[in-house]
């Protein structure tokens, strides 16, 4: 990890020094144990702030839309896949982006750590030889790293960036094909059971929209939940059905675009399982269209409207 950190710092410094980019978006040390935090570097000497670690869980593609300046971004596999989709959706200008690819060994899920420590507070953590040493007041526990990784990382098929200009370090081995066991388990449930599960999970939703804001692909200028004319769903949280409706539309809107980076799930302060819905979409799109979001710049998104731009007569004036 320290080698990757050094490589990222040197690359960022060079890019800024040579004025190849005006900004580098990466990660810095966070203020909490096992946490890194998005970091924006504009001066070569500030590149020292950049780090790489098991807490670089945020999807940095979120910060790249409609940037006026030339930007370099530190991208792990999932970030790079979001970048691919955003380029296809004209949200990122490829010519103004330098992708510093970083092979990813997975990120640590702090919720799993919290669950494991069952009330004890984590004050310090150390990672060595595949073990995470968790330390707090009067305790120290060693846990295999694999046990603490995010579920998204455990099924990830693209730990190595799919799109990059400069690659840091050696590629990491890719795991066996994703079997979507979790989604299959959800699929076999009776409709009433599925409904009950979603209602139970989403009854905790406080409508803070952290899921929406953390998602690189949620960039509508006006989100349907904010629209008041017409009002698609109630603004109040009195009715849990509306929380379900919000997430159902969000998941459907992300079908064929979601790279299963887990950013929504990680952002939710209430620990709601949002991934079951988004993963169901990922699986359906793979099965129905043979499409995996974000793996290729050339492959057309399956759910993009098949508009023939050379024959405007396809639509009449009313847009029908």
């Amino acid at each position: 990890m320290s080698e990757l950190t050094r490589a990222i710092q040197e690359t960022a410094q060079k890019l800024l020094q040579n004025k190849e980019v005006e900004l580098v978006v990466g990660f810095a040390e966070g203020s909490l144990p096992l946490r890194n935090t998005p970091c924006f570097v504009r001066q070569p000497e500030e590149a020292q702030r950049l780090v790489w670690g098991y807490g670089c869980e945020n999807n940095l593609a979120n910060y790249l839309r409609q940037r006026p300046e030339k930007v370099a971004v530190v991208a792990k596999g999932c970030d790079s896949r979001s970048i691919v989709e955003l380029i296809k959706e004209n949200q990122i200008d490829r010519n103004k982006l330098v992708v510093i690819g970083v092979p990813c060994r997975g990120m640590i899920d702090r919720k799993k750590v919290t669950r494991l420590l069952a009330g004890k507070e984590l004050l310090e953590a150390e990672i060595r030889d595949g073990q995470v040493v968790l330390k707090g007041k009067e305790f120290s526990e060693s846990v295999p790293l694999e046990q603490l990784l995010h579920d998204t990382c455990l099924t990830c098929q693209h730990p190595n960036p799919v799109l990059f200009d400069i690659m840091m370090g050696e590629p990491v081995p890719v795991k066996e094909a994703d079997s979507f066991v979790d989604v299959a388990n959800f699929e076999v449930k009776a409709p009433a059971e599925k409904r009950a599960y979603l209602i139970q999970e989403l009854s905790r939703c406080i409508r803070c929209y952290a899921c929406r804001q953390a998602c690189p692909m949620c960039f509508c200028e006006e989100c349907f939940v904010d629209c008041s004319m017409p009002q698609w769903l109630s603004k109040s949280s009195l009715n849990v059905q509306d929380n379900v409706f919000f997430q159902a539309v969000r998941a459907l809107h992300l079908a064929g675009r979601c790279v299963d980076c887990g950013a929504c799930d990680r952002a939710c302060p209430m620990g709601i399982d949002l991934r079951t819905l988004t993963r169901k979409m990922v699986k359906d799109v793979q099965e129905l269209f043979g499409y995996t979001a974000g793996v290729s710049l050339d492959q057309k998104p399956p759910l993009a409207a098949p508009i023939n731009t050379t024959s405007p007569a396809t639509f009449n004036q009313d847009g029908r």
Partner: protein, 340 residues
């Protein structure tokens, strides 16, 4: 007085006969304040709740009144919640937040009957913090792990018993019929040691912060400090002192209700005018507003900082934008004149 932990369930069951009792209960991996219908649901072995108990007095969504349009006019029914409530096991920082919210909902110009009726009918039983979290910084804001301000009773956990500090007559009434023994010398001594041991690891320097904020509205610091903020409301919705709201009518056919919902300065919609103009068009202005409201405007209006140092915004921020670091950065910034 002394309350055996084994007596807690019975006491809560007894209180439930006359009050709605709200207590921390475990929900998934977190604790939340919910109305309990049996004393054994309460779990007082927690560090801090995910969402503060402010939602008991200021719900996420509440009906203000309902209406029905009829041939000869409109029928209105006001929805004021007059039930008697107790919040058990809230932390001293959360109790302090109610004192701050009081200023907002009870001013010279306006008394908010919805909040104030609940407030007046709610008794607060606090629980001191034997082990404050590393993200807690209440002492920097004039509070403390065993501060009693705003509470009616304070429970001090001394192992198998609580030392109950009676702070108001309303608090004393809750113990009627319990015939609790007075705290003996040993219990008092243990309580003293527990209090001394509850040291906070974080201090935030607030000295001179207000006078800095008074003059840095146009400072370039805001261009950078907000950059990683996603613009979600995880911080404000889990903050015990944030109190902004939006009011909407939800109607179907001839009838509906006027509903007050939590809103957040972090959303672009919060300040969007009907004209389409938005005076806080980007994350920069919105983030500045959040900091300014807590540490400057609230001080101007109520002579108090609208932060109690509970640390929830630090724990819940999806990008680890830590308010302690933000304040430190502001403190270190060069003071400029308030001119563009």
């Amino acid at each position: 007085m002394l309350l055996n932990k084994g007596q807690l369930t019975d006491w809560l069951n007894q209180l439930m006969q006359a009050y709605q009792v709200f207590a921390p209960i475990k929900e998934g991996d977190y604790f939340c304040f919910k109305q309990i219908n049996s004393g054994d649901q309460a779990t007082l072995n927690y560090t801090n709740s995910k969402v503060p108990p402010k939602e008991v007095l200021f719900p996420r969504s509440e009906k203000l009144f309902c209406y029905r349009c009829e041939n000869d006019g409109v029928q209105l029914t006001e929805q004021i919640d007059e039930s008697k409530k107790i919040i058990v096991g809230l932390r001293p920082c959360d109790a302090k937040s109610f004192l701050l919210l009081d200023g907002v909902f009870k001013s010279d110009k306006y008394h908010d009957p919805y909040y104030l009726t609940r407030r007046n009918n709610t008794v607060l039983v606090g629980l001191g913090c034997n082990q404050p979290a590393s993200t807690c910084f209440c002492t920097s804001l004039g509070g403390g792990p065993f501060a009693t301000e705003g509470l009616d009773l304070l429970l001090v956990d001394i192992g198998d018993r609580y030392v109950v500090e009676v702070l108001t007559d309303r608090g004393r009434e809750l113990l009627a019929g319990m015939e609790l023994p007075a705290a003996d010398q040993e219990a008092k001594e243990t309580a003293r040691r527990v209090k001394e041991g509850a040291a906070l690891s974080t201090q935030v320097n607030l000295e001179g912060l207000k006078s800095k904020l008074d003059v840095i509205f146009y400072d370039p610091i805001w261009d950078l400090i907000h950059e990683k903020c996603l613009g979600c409301a995880a911080c404000t919705y889990t903050c015990p002192t944030c109190h902004c709201f939006d009011i909407v009518d939800e109607a179907e056919g001839n009838e509906g209700c006027r509903i007050r919902n939590w809103d957040a300065c972090m959303f672009p919609l919060f300040t969007l005018h009907g004209s389409g103009h938005n005076p806080r068009p980007t994350g920069k202005e919105r983030f500045r507003q959040r900091v300014m409201h807590k540490f400057k405007y609230f001080v101007d209006n109520f002579n108090a900082i609208a932060c109690v140092g509970c640390g929830r915004c630090i724990i819940n921020c999806p990008v680890n934008l830590d308010i302690r670091e933000v304040l430190a950065e502001i403190q270190g910034s060069e003071v400029r004149s308030d001119k563009q």
